[in-house]
Point group: C2
């Protein structure tokens, strides 16, 4: 998908398949970041060290520091290595929160930063909906639009993943009501125009977005209503009375539990369809939103067949289908978009695909039929940010040039194999379970025996110079950058072994 669109859009000659594969095998992060450190270097007893703690304390005077992990020195960080306030050099396999695409201070990206084009785009931020720069079409056509998911040739840019999802919600609600009215030209009634000003139906309709338990879609009021990750994310915040459906609790490794997993998926699909039907009488579902891998919620997987069914059942009941690729997008799963693996037929593509994080630019790919029927219905001051679109364009160029998606697929395959060996060894006995994500690039995860053991694992890894993230209750998730390769994998697996023995 990625290379197909890339070629047609940029008109670059295709490489023979074998040569592409060779190139992918040979990529080293040193190609892009010549001065990347050779390994972690820990100079304080614990991480964060005294300078990091002092920096957090300084921030505490005006901003909540309780969620700080480390206080980095971004000027010194390079490639896959983040340097903290104390000078610790740390292998970063969390990539902020899965939000750094190809590394810190990648020279080719810094070069972009020095261009007149970038500086002027950054410091003359336009209101894109009304005053788009004269280069806007070109910037998108040679950048974000080259990675448009199959079938989705429209793009609304936004500032973050939460607002990308809420934009997809709004477009769904508008298109749903428009369909009910029978025509794009059907006028709003006076009752609708009046009642919406009081937040009452029919103008503010009793419609809903269906999401899945453990799903995460952001923390603004609409997106948070669809988020079902953790109570601490939701408690005390008013929410829309929207339904949630069960997400399959599969057994891992998937290939060893095919029958029971199929049954579990079937059970969830039935429950999902039941909710769609039951909602019709009270608060019909205008859109269904799902992540290809439920990430914040604990790296929960399901089969391509399950997702294909979700899509078809949504369509059957008149709901738009939104794929939230804010975390899964941009190559980490070994395909540019994770949902490419679902094998959706032509005409069955998602209605919306949202992105942010690693892409740096954020937004919604969609179809022209969900463009609102009147201007100013989807509108705000900035409508995205050209400098982030330029950053994304450059990053996409680099990803393409170095075949970083296939590089990540192959690195992930060999990394998964190393982890499987480690987790089958005595070091992991009774501690690690549910290793998952094989076949999804470096998007790997596993559970520790308890939440406390997970936290201890993450903390000890950090003290050994590896920054790694958790998710769900007791899961460790890998989210390295696309330049992560064999040599980083060796350090990662070796350190994990050491830490597992210490647990």
């Amino acid at each position: 998908m990625f290379s197909r669109v890339a070629r047609s859009a940029r008109n670059t000659p295709s490489l023979p398949r074998a040569s592409r594969a060779l190139q992918a095998r040979q990529f080293s992060s040193l190609d892009l970041i010549p001065d990347e450190p050779a390994g972690p270097s820990v100079v304080t007893q614990k991480i964060p060290g005294p300078k990091g703690l002092a920096a957090s304390k300084e921030i505490d005077a005006f901003q909540d520091p309780r969620t700080h992990v480390i206080v980095p020195n971004y000027e010194e960080s390079k490639g896959n290595y983040i340097v903290d306030a104390d000078g610790n050099v740390i292998l970063d396999v969390f990539a902020q929160i899965s939000s750094i695409g190809i590394g810190y201070n990648v020279p080719a990206l810094l070069e972009l930063g020095k261009t007149d084009e970038f500086i002027k785009a950054a410091l003359n931020r336009p209101a894109l909906g009304s005053f788009p720069p004269v280069q806007w079409a070109e910037w998108l056509r040679t950048g974000l639009l080259t990675v448009q998911p199959k079938g989705l040739d429209q793009l609304i840019t936004t500032l973050c993943g939460s607002s990308a999802n809420e934009t997809a919600f709004k477009c769904s609600f508008m298109a749903y009501r428009q369909r009910e009215r029978g025509s794009p030209d059907a006028p709003f009634t006076k009752e609708e125009m009046d009642s919406c000003m009081d937040n009452q139906s029919p103008g503010a309709p009793q419609l809903s977005v269906l999401s899945f338990k453990s799903g995460f879609h952001g923390r603004l009021f609409g997106s948070l209503s669809a988020t079902r990750s953790k109570a601490i994310h939701k408690v005390d915040i008013p929410a829309f009375d929207w339904p949630s459906a069960p997400f399959p609790a599969l057994k891992y490794p998937l290939q060893e539990h095919v029958k029971e997993n199929e049954a579990e998926e079937k059970r969830c699909l039935e429950e999902y369809e039941k909710i769609l039907i039951e909602s019709k009488s009270a608060r019909p579902v205008a859109a269904v939103i799902i992540e290809p891998i439920l990430s914040e919620g604990g790296d929960k997987h399901a089969s391509p067949a399950f997702f294909r069914s979700l899509r078809l059942i949504a369509k059957k009941h008149g709901a738009f289908f939104i794929v939230d690729e804010v975390q899964t997008g941009v190559g980490a799963t070994g395909t540019f978009w994770a949902h490419e693996k679902w094998g959706l037929q032509e005409g069955e593509e998602p209605d919306f695909v949202t992105f942010s994080k690693k892409m740096q630019a954020a937004g919604v790919f969609h179809k022209k039929e969900t463009r609102p029927n009147a201007p100013y219905r989807n509108y705000n001051t900035w409508m995205g940010d050209p400098m982030r679109a330029l950053q994304a364009r450059k990053m996409i160029d680099i990803i393409r040039q170095h075949n970083l998606v296939s590089h990540t697929a192959s690195t992930g395959a060999s990394l998964a194999s190393s982890f499987k060996s480690l987790f089958a060894s005595s070091a992991a006995a009774g501690k690690v379970s549910n290793f998952r994500g094989e076949g999804d690039g470096t998007y790997l995860a596993w559970d520790l025996a308890t939440p406390a053991m997970r936290d201890s694992f993450v903390g000890k890894m950090r003290n050994h110079g590896i920054l790694i993230g958790g998710c769900g209750e007791q899961t460790v998730r890998l989210r390295p950058m696309l330049t992560f390769g064999e040599k980083h994998a060796e350090i990662l697996v070796g350190t994990a072994e050491k830490v597992l023995k210490e647990l």
Copy 2:
């Protein structure tokens, strides 16, 4: 306020008052933008011209162009002048959507863009809540925190005004429920933790935000529920059942209608308090949100006494008080924050002040008592953007160095006087009414006789080389940058006279 905080924070010596005033009088945009054009230059019959229309058509392939006004060439734009795709040089008194602070391509800002510090901040975007840069405290202390509104020494950074307002809502809801529980340490009940996951009370409480008719607070799901500007902004989008109170419909000029305006304000205050009381039984009001001048809704003003009463009545009924300075903030009203003019007593400051637009950085100033009682309750991936904080810091420095707030106050005063003469002349007879904003810097507005005449005025002004904005039903609003001065004012008033005659 601005200079007081500025001095105490940066420790720069204060200038004698007279000399400050002199400096303010003498400021010319050429001090900052030596090559700013001397006036508009229109090269096409209409604006947009053929190249602009072609650029919009190109964008139409993938993005809605119906709201385009012009397609600018940002590289060529300078100071108060925006250049479009056709080479028209246009005096911009709308400043995108009131979102450019001091001008296009101001050399001192472009210098910032070339620094290593800025480039690395832009291209290594951190997840600020967990991995803030080691310079974060310094960047804020010497930048955004120097303009903190009185009494509000805490700052949550966000990406846009809508999310700033929603952050203030969330903090209000959390603090409200915490107060109900009696202590910051009171644990959530199991029922709360469970029910919030299903979007049901008590975990997702039946609480509300009260806003005012014609108010605008953004277009995400929470902020849109508080927005009451226009039906086209709200129709078809589900909304929370939150109350709205009437905003005074004052008669202008204010000083000629003191008595009846007082009565109108009293009526609105009584209705407001009634709604606060009545809401208690169904959906108690946790927060009240208001703009100091209702801007999108048509530049509606009220007296300082009215706002002081709003604040006190909110407090009396246990609601937090949010001042939305997204559009009014950053000097355009002749004080750095518009609410400085209210004369609030110590201890009666707003609980939250939100900002974005001209500041480029966005966020919420608040008090430490509304910091959530546990980590991760207010959290997201980016939590703001350091490069925008650096941009804001530089802009604040420039504003301070050139006394641009007092410059804007005095420019606004003389501009208002010119407009009053014009609007009293035969050119405006039967066409212009309700001139308003005198005393509020360049934040001036007036009504045309009909919505169509307003649109015609705005269109003709553009064809004469002046980009000016509308708001409300038939209002024209001025939103020039802080470098707008006498010579721009002359061109503006002269052109307005010409256009009024043509109408």
